[in-house]
């Protein structure tokens, strides 16, 4: 395979992992669930965007953000503002005292559309804003923090505070952005009703395709030199700085990428769920998003998707059956993962299941034809499941793109 493609898909193993995930999303789920449940899966998968962003920021960049809900929310709100304007045409709001503005504005005695709503009449502006607004916001936060070398737990606390502040701000501005209720009663996208079953199917598949796209973008980043630099920075920030790199610019970049991925998730959430509210922005959802990533494996893009799916399935199941217990279970799950499986499901896979699978394949291969001469050292780190425990560290991390000319004969 072409080297660049090889990097992108993470070699054979990465390709298989991606294919399995795609099969789960595009075939297994739609065949297993009715549209109500599939719509829920679609909702879970919007969180997977955030989890992928966190793999980049937290797993690779070492930047723990407890405020990814901010960007999820901003993306979701940008989408919701467009949909709300479309749902508030003068015809369907003629019973309001000011027809043509969103209902919650009317309830709060606003008589004209606020200026910052105006551009959201345009779909292309709104789609741009879904990416640009969170990216800009993330840029401002991260420049302010990383240029001053604020990092680690301080950064986590600050992002959490910002998430809280943003929630309070939105809740307080009921007339302008819908307050605690959020922006509800969204109906159509350019005349296309998003509430029908058919639309839900389309949106589900669109969501899945975007998610695969996000994984590929993530792969491109972590297999590039930038990915290695992020790992290097996590280890030895000073060494990177004194090798001539402006460390803060790399952190800013990866934080903005994480924010934009979260925002895409937020926008897809709005489209599939049909509303957006501050309850998806605050501290608790932001921490939940970190848990998805931790459970899936913070070094694995694909693992993060499974993490988001599994935790959310569990959440739905338990909160339907034992509503009072769910939060305790979730807390316990997080503690257990951090203490026992620091690399999450992906870590369990690469340290327990993969070796057994390889042994099984080797046994089978020994009987049959000649064992496949493996393509160079299998580009392992491209499929980001580095087994981090010392025992597994003996497996040499092969070079990302596999240097053919390496003097290892």
């Amino acid at each position: 395979m072409h080297v660049a493609m090889d990097k992108l898909f993470g070699g054979r193993e990465g390709l298989v992992g991606l294919a399995i995930l795609a099969a789960v999303i595009f075939i297994v789920m739609p065949l297993t669930f009715d549209i109500f449940r599939l719509n829920l899966v679609g909702k879970y998968l919007t969180y997977a965007f955030v989890a992928i962003g966190l793999v980049l920021c937290w797993g690779y960049g070492g930047i723990l953000s407890l405020g990814q809900g901010i960007f999820f929310g901003l993306g979701g709100y940008c989408m919701a503002m467009f949909l709300k304007l479309e749902a508030s045409d003068p015809e369907s709001t003629k019973i309001q005292s000011t027809p043509g503005i969103p209902d919650f504005m009317d309830w709060n005695q606003l008589t004209a559309l606020p200026w910052f709503w105006e551009p959201f009449h345009s779909l292309s502006f709104s789609l741009l804003a879904v990416l640009a607004v969170p990216c800009l916001f993330a840029f401002i936060i991260s420049v302010a923090m990383f240029k001053r070398r604020v990092g680690g737990v301080y950064f986590a606390i600050i992002t959490q505070a910002i998430a809280l502040i943003l929630t309070i701000l939105i809740v307080g501005q009921q007339g302008y952005i819908g307050g605690i209720n959020g922006i509800t009663d969204l109906r159509t996208l350019k005349g296309w009703d998003i509430r029908t079953d058919e639309a839900k199917y389309v949106l589900y598949f669109l969501n899945g395709a975007l998610l695969i796209g996000a994984i590929l973008v993530g792969r491109l980043i972590i297999t590039s030199k930038l990915g290695r630099l992020l790992l290097a920075m996590r280890d030895r920030e000073d060494r990177v700085r004194f090798s001539g790199y402006d460390v803060s610019s790399f952190k800013i970049f990866v934080f903005c990428v994480g924010a934009m991925m979260s925002a895409i998730g937020g926008a897809m959430f709005t489209l599939q769920v049909g509303f957006m509210s501050p309850s998806f922005i605050g501290i608790v959802p932001s921490i939940e998003m970190v848990i998805f990533t931790a459970v899936g494996g913070r070094m694995s893009l694909i693992g993060a998707v499974y993490g988001a799916l599994i935790v959310n399935f569990a959440k739905t199941y338990f909160s339907e059956s034992f509503p009072a217990l769910w939060l305790f279970l979730m807390g316990g799950l997080f503690i257990a993962v951090v203490m026992l499986f620091p690399n999450g499901l992906a870590g369990i896979y690469s340290s327990h299941i993969k070796p057994k699978f390889a042994a099984w394949r080797a046994r089978r291969g020994a009987g049959g034809g000649p064992p496949l001469p493996e393509v160079a050292p299998p580009p392992e780190p491209a499929a980001p499941k580095p087994a981090e425990r010392p025992a597994a560290a003996a497996v040499p991390r092969s070079l990302a793109a596999g240097i053919q000319s390496e003097p290892s004969r």
Binding site: S243, G244, F253, A393
Partner: protein, 248 residues
């Protein structure tokens, strides 16, 4: 000042005070082209602080550090590195989770911006350079080894290699042979002599045998000031130096 331009590095009236304690006190230090200069002195003399000041890790309270006519005290760390100053830390500071190859590659002075790093390709040129440096630092057999698995001495060499790949004009090494075996010290000495072609090397070291072996000139620091400067033999026989440092 035109007189400065003859030196690669000229430090003048450099002072840094931490809450009133002057770790470096009106220091003047000049390093020539192709010179190996060793800085010695008792603990707390300010040796490491001087390196920190040069590479921008610590900011000077007053004074100037000129490198090839550039005023380093006003530049950020990565600009200082890009202008040609390389710094090795006291403890081997390498990326343990990356292979030797990747360690060197990450230090290769191309693709240093965000988008440069995204677009960076492992070209034949990069591979050749990495292999060349690996040979220089005696690690050509270990290119595929995870750096964390190297011996202490090899880690020190790797870090030196990570600097060499950037081809700095001023190389600063903080205790490069600390914790090395006798054989490794000897090899390191040879390495330093090889690499001081076309560059100046500033070394902090405690091992007197090693210092004697490599130094062109020795500067003795004491309480942030220069106690004595000159050839090793001269410095070694100076009564003040013997009293504060060598006599111990």
């Amino acid at each position: 000042m035109s007189s400065n331009t003859d030196f690669v590095l000229s430090i003048e009236d450099l002072t840094v005070s931490f809450d009133g304690f002057k770790a470096v006190d009106s220091l003047n230090l000049y390093v020539d082209k192709n010179e190996i200069r060793v800085v010695i002195g008792p603990n707390g003399a300010g040796k490491t602080t001087v390196l920190d000041l040069i590479c921008g890790k610590t900011r000077a309270t007053s004074g100037s550090i000129r490198f090839k006519g550039l005023e380093l005290t006003r530049m950020s760390e990565h600009q200082i590195v890009r202008s040609g100053v390389g710094r090795k830390f006291q403890n081997p500071s390498i990326y343990e989770n990356l292979t030797v190859f990747e360690n060197l590659e990450v230090s290769y002075p191309k693709g240093r911006t965000v988008f440069g790093a995204l677009a960076f390709k492992r070209t034949a040129e990069v591979i050749a350079k990495v292999e060349e440096i690996a040979r220089e630092i005696m690690l050509e057999e270990f290119l595929g080894t995870e750096a964390g698995l190297l011996s202490h001495g090899q880690k020190q060499w790797l870090e030196i290699g990570m600097l060499l790949i950037q081809d700095p004009e001023l190389l600063m090494l903080d205790e490069p042979v600390a914790g090395m075996s006798a054989r490794e010290r000897e090899l390191t000495g040879q390495l330093l002599k090889r690499i001081c072609n076309n560059r100046s090397v500033l070394v902090i070291e405690h091992d007197m045998e090693f210092v004697k072996n490599i130094a062109h000139k020795v500067t003795v620091l004491h309480q942030g000031k220069i106690l004595k400067e000159g050839l090793m033999e001269v410095v070694q026989s100076d009564p003040k130096v013997i009293e504060v440092y060598l006599g111990h």
